[in-house]
Symmetry: C2
């Protein structure tokens, strides 16, 4: 045994004991004829005292940062206690030590705040992993994993492993493929999710399945995407949407409780996709704060005041509003005193290419009851007041108004709302607010191909009362310009997303479980009977032998951990992440392989230079 | 909600309750104007009673096997109770029912004993998975998974996910590779194990790591091998061999207790590799029974009587023994009365190509104290008696003797011992006997290349007292004929296998943690400095920055489950296994992929027709 205790567990009550510790040298401090060494492991730091006799030995075998040290001595009470450290009441008066391994000077400091840049820390990830913030991330990840598994186990779910070497069924994201040596010319695909397998398990009668499982998507990467990522993947039989929502908000609440000691007592809010789009301009609203959008002129319905606003606009002769497809307003509380400089800066912010607006109109609802606007010359004060009323603004608010093409303006307003929430400190990292978004459209229109694509995936069922609409209508879009008038455009999916603080952390649906309807779905997506049979014949076949009603959900495990850890980037919560080119710079993968390997696989590279 | 209860939970105390069940129709039995339907789900079977009024409806909507049915009714006590079924005291007097889905007649019966052949059951795996024996296997698998995780969690191990898209380092088994679209001409490899990553985690200070993780090997398949398989993968820092053996026999004992309700109180036996080879002829002995081998003439040491046996052989003039490199004997208890037919059959058995011996010599140690042998004419009775004494045979035993080339004879004797154990009923499926095999050779000699290969893997440390032998000697083998006299031939590894009932269920080692020694190891395996740097530079680099002493183990999860479930085949314990050609015949993978996919990946197939 190299140690009797870890570096995190010795306390005052251990004084007098002889102990052996092993760990890494964090710091060495010399004070005349004695030295103090902070010894670190994943459990904590303990101070070692090298007295006069040993101090000399330290001169012969100097200790450097990150040396691996084994040291034996007696636990003694410190005269100079450190209340910041759990072990701060004691130190070890060392009687013997051994350097187990030396260490070169690390390329960056192993401290909470390091001097290492991103690239360097990725290359030496094994050193970055020693730092407390990174270690805490992985510990949080494990805690979430454990908590979710316990909840699922307690609810009769069974972990069943599904295969990694499966079949390529190109659609949606790109597959990673694996050439088969034993079946030359053929390829496996790595799963984008265990979707069809978990459905087969339902057909097999395993009514509650889960898996914490790696999935793979060969997509161009952004900061928050990885070619391999982890899902908490779940499926249930004999359930309706409500059963699933209840079960899985329970899961997230359990994780909150186990991992963050948060008692999330409230029932999770539920909002239709339609409402989310109208009120927040996107389908994963952050509901930690208000500042909902006001549609002053729009194709959406359900808000009062639109007629009044339109009348004001027409009277004003303000072309910016009158020519716009959409006009959206946000009332920012307490911002009426923004200076010219601040409103100019906001105008620049919305003009950035990522946002893409031409400008920003504001109305200051001053605390003295007066109104002031950047479009003063078009709107007399009483009309500004009327608009403020429509927006539900209070004295002291600053109303920000965007106008332009429908989709861009909606996105911009949504971004602007989040930005203002951020600036006002309303997006607190320690506040967690869940939301179910329901009733997504089943189909999206793919303009280039003039066809429908599945918004979630082709196995998602329509809402029960819309199955007939789907079955009884021809999916072909004869009038592309008016695709919105096709009956399919209004079919809602029996699908749901779980949103946490404005991030989608999970999504799922009730599945199609009848062969007929599944075939109609493939047909609706423009798949021929032969193609459907070739790709998904096994699933269609399975539906013939007694498939139960079922549905499920998959949580993005990396993202869930990131949000719980208060970070934007999933990469911080993955032990060995890849960079934006899909490279692991530490091991230098991917890499060129031997010609002999290619030959055995009967493939050749075919570089387009 | 589709159901209020499962099909496995209703009991006498539920009588009077109105319940709704959902499940699959197992059987329909008509008795005049009423019908009984057995409804099945993964929790059990409940009997439904369709009385006169509903019976008529059943005529209009007949129920077939495997139909998915929802039925509501009152729980009533059965007049004709079935004590074989947990729900056998009650039945449900149905008041309403709904067919949720129809089912075509399954291609084989969904019963414990099915009429379906292997191929059919693989193709319709989703139906085979409904059968109780298969379901019980997957339930056992989940129970083992859960138990192992709980034990590791209780002992401070952390589940940390390692990447699946890594780097190909060809050696040992073949890698599966994955072409990278974003890095054309380059490939990832799927991990054969997370070996180097878990070692890096030790360097990072995560002193107790585990993972239940898929691994991949592109090898030609046998019945008990799969291209993707699951390991319980573990690693610890600041430990010596003994710490690991204690920790992980604890794990298996916990699994025995949780899953099989077996209290494995004994300390697990430990045996050196050398002893295992001498006493049992192989390195994973089944110690549920004795019948150890007696070496009558061998290069192995440590047994008495060899000199005496040699003298007897020389005197006999029996060329079969005298010309043989090795003569091995097994005393089979109570088999002295075997008939001529039986001994002939055994002789044929050892002559089969899989065993490959030329013949079998036997000595019957009759209960009357006389001896009889198939080589009577060479050995007078007193010499037979002397040989029996050397073999430790008792009256009533049958001694089986094999002679020939060292390796083949040893293997044959080992197989013969297992076969006789099987025939005598000494290999009971409900008896579990663990064994640690220790001190494996560090190197094996690869004749074709005249070089050393790592017996375990290149990261395994030699026994501490043999590190000097390794460092101080040139690995080059100058005299191939006498490679055994090279100092490397006798270096023992700090490695261990866990054996259960004659199967290796886990293996591991204390690892090299010094750069210098690791470089020497790569050198010993014939790897140039450049090659070592290219393949394992990240690990060598990591060893420079304070690597702690560490070691670990990996359990073959599929095999462990199979043995605990009393089966020889791991395939029975995998939800969706592949066949011997690496095919998933259910989904029909691998398969040809689109030309467009190949083009995007910048590869082409290059079939050698």
């Amino acid at each position: 045994m190299y140690r009797t205790h870890t570096c995190g567990e010795l306390r005052q009550e251990n004084t007098g004991q002889t102990v052996t510790l092993a760990g890494w040298v964090q710091t060495v401090r010399k004070f005349g004829s004695i030295s103090f060494v902070d010894l670190r492991d994943r459990y904590g730091i303990t101070q070692l005292l090298f007295g006069e006799s040993l101090n000399q030995l330290l001169d012969e075998q100097p200790l450097g940062r990150e040396f691996v040290l084994q040291a034996t001595g007696k636990v003694v009470e410190r005269t100079n206690k450190n209340p910041q450290m759990p072990t701060g009441d004691v130190e070890i008066d060392i009687t013997a030590f051994k350097i187990l391994n030396k260490a070169a000077t690390p390329p960056f400091t192993i401290e909470d705040k390091t001097d290492g840049g991103d690239d360097l820390r990725m290359k030496f990830r094994y050193l970055d992993l020693r730092r407390n913030p990174v270690r805490r991330n992985l510990e949080l990840r494990y805690a979430v994993n454990r908590s979710a598994r316990n909840y699922l186990h307690d609810n009769n779910f069974m972990d069943i492993e599904t295969p990694f070497l499966i079949k390529s069924t190109p659609e949606g994201a790109r597959d990673f493929v694996v050439p088969s040596r034993m079946n030359p010319g053929q390829f496996y695909a790595l799963p984008q999710s265990p979707q069809t397998f978990k459905q087969l398990l339902m057909v097999s009668g395993y009514d509650r399945y889960y898996q914490v499982v790696k999935c793979f998507r060969d997509e161009d990467l952004r900061a928050d995407r990885q070619p391999e990522f982890t899902q908490i993947d779940c499926e249930m039989s004999f359930v309706e949407q409500d059963d699933i929502l209840n079960m899985f908000e329970g899961l997230v609440k359990r994780v909150f409780k186990d991992v963050k000691q948060i008692d999330y007592a409230d029932k999770v809010d539920r909002m239709t996709w339609n409402d989310a789009m109208i009120r927040y301009g996107n389908d994963k609203p952050d509901i930690r704060f208000g500042m909902e959008l006001t549609n002053l002129k729009t194709i959406f319905e359900g808000q009062s005041g639109i007629e009044e606003a339109k009348a004001i606009f027409e009277q004003s002769g303000f072309k910016v509003f009158n020519d716009a497809e959409t006009v959206l307003a946000i009332a920012v509380p307490g911002a009426s005193e923004y200076t010219r400089k601040q409103t100019d800066e906001l105008t620049e912010w919305v003009k950035r290419p990522q946002i893409g607006m031409n400008g920003l109109v504001f109305i200051k609802c001053n605390s003295d009851g007066s109104f002031k606007s950047s479009a003063d010359k078009f709107f007399p004060e009483d009309q500004l007041k009327a608009l403020a009323g429509i927006c539900g603004a209070q004295q002291g608010d600053l109303i920000l108004i965007l106008a332009g093409r429908e989709e861009r303006t909606r996105k911009a307003a949504s971004e602007l709302r989040l930005e203002m929430g951020e600036r006002l400190g309303l997006r607190r990292k320690d506040e967690f607010k869940l939301l179910w978004v329901l009733d997504f459209p089943l189909f999206e229109y793919a303009e280039a191909e003039n066809r429908w694509v599945a918004r979630h995936h082709p196995f998602t069922a329509p809402k029960p009362d819309q199955i007939a609409t789907m079955i009884n209508n021809d999916p072909v879009i004869r009038d592309a310009a008016n695709y919105l008038s096709h009956p399919y455009a209004n079919i809602k999916a029996n699908a749901y997303d779980m949103v946490l603080n404005g991030n989608e952390i999970g999504g799922g649906s009730i599945r199609i479980f009848q062969r007929e309807l599944q075939e109609k779905m493939f047909d609706a997506l423009g798949m021929s009977k032969e193609e459907a049979q070739h790709k998904f014949g096994f699933l269609l076949g399975a539906f013939e032998y007694g498939a139960p009603p079922h549905g499920g959900i998959a949580f993005g495990f990396d993202r869930l951990c990131a949000i719980l850890g208060g970070s934007e980037s999933i990469r911080d919560f993955i032990a060995f992440p890849k960079n934006n080119s899909g490279r692991d710079v530490m091991i230098d993968a991917p890499s060129v392989i031997d010609e002999a390997q290619l030959e055995e696989l009967q493939i050749q590279t075919d570089l387009k230079s």
